[in-house]
Symmetry: C2
Subunit: 129 residues, 2 copies
DNA sequence: TGCAAATATTTGAATATCAATATATACACA
DNA sequence: TGTGTATATATTGATATTCAAATATTTGCA
């Protein structure tokens, strides 16, 4: 019955996560951690072309992740919901823990096939490539 | 000095977040919430072609988000780090809160331009489109 | 009104992603 | 060894994303 609705929800869920899949957007969001900033400031600090910053801000705005406020000729952006930082932090932790696991895997392989085989036998991490 | 390294980190951070930007991957991850499942089961439950499930699992595996274990002719997948669920949950909360905010905005606009104007004056939510 | 600064939007080319199809591999069992 | 089942990989065409360059809009101020 609400199969259709579920699918729609998954789509929206995936869609909003796209906010975090561009390195420049992540950098911009990080710059907004300690409060609002103007477009020009963001461009200056991140060393990005204004037009690029503006594009990413438009995207973030369209997804409801940032709010904008005009003051004179400048426009200030702020994060709409601080929860985005929690999500970012968790994903970063995941990234770092994965990197660490990979490193341990490599170290294990270097230590000889016998012990290495034992540590990766039950579950396979990153088969292929 | 580590400007280059920072950029690399942002890239990897953005890259790992791609795990969450496909509705089918989100559904698959949700199915793994209560433990491991075989590829066939996942395909059956999610009503997706096996080849599609396999592709998404390969992607998740390549990003280190799932581990696989072979048992006979079946291959069982499990989430590698439960933190991914926290990130998913937060993003979903964000989504729902945004939907709610939009709804309130619409309700405000329907209530007449005077009060509506007052509620959205300071910060702008979703300018354009 | 006209000009400059700040920001936004549009456009096009390169690249990435997706789903579907076809093909390949690994295992179990006879 | 041969066959069937489970899973993986490769390819292809359609669609989406990205970046940068050009252009447009808004505001402040002379």
């Amino acid at each position: 019955m609400n199969d259709e609705l579920n699918r729609k929800l998954y789509e929206m869920h995936a869609e909003i996560c796209k906010v975090l899949t561009n390195p420049k957007r992540i950098e911009i969001l990080n710059l907004l951690r300690d409060g609002e900033r103007s477009v020009g400031d963001l461009a200056l600090i991140a060393e990005l072309p204004q037009t690029s910053v503006s594009q990413h801000l438009a995207f973030l705005r369209q997804k409801g992740m940032v709010l904008s406020r005009r003051d004179g000729s400048s426009i200030y952006y702020a994060v709409a919901n601080e929860k985005i930082f929690s999500a970012m932090d968790i994903m970063k932790e995941l990234l770092l823990e994965n990197l660490q696991a990979d490193q341990e895997l490599v170290a294990g392989l270097a230590g000889g096939p016998v012990t290495a085989g034992a540590t990766v036998k039950k579950y396979r991490r990153k088969a292929g490539q």
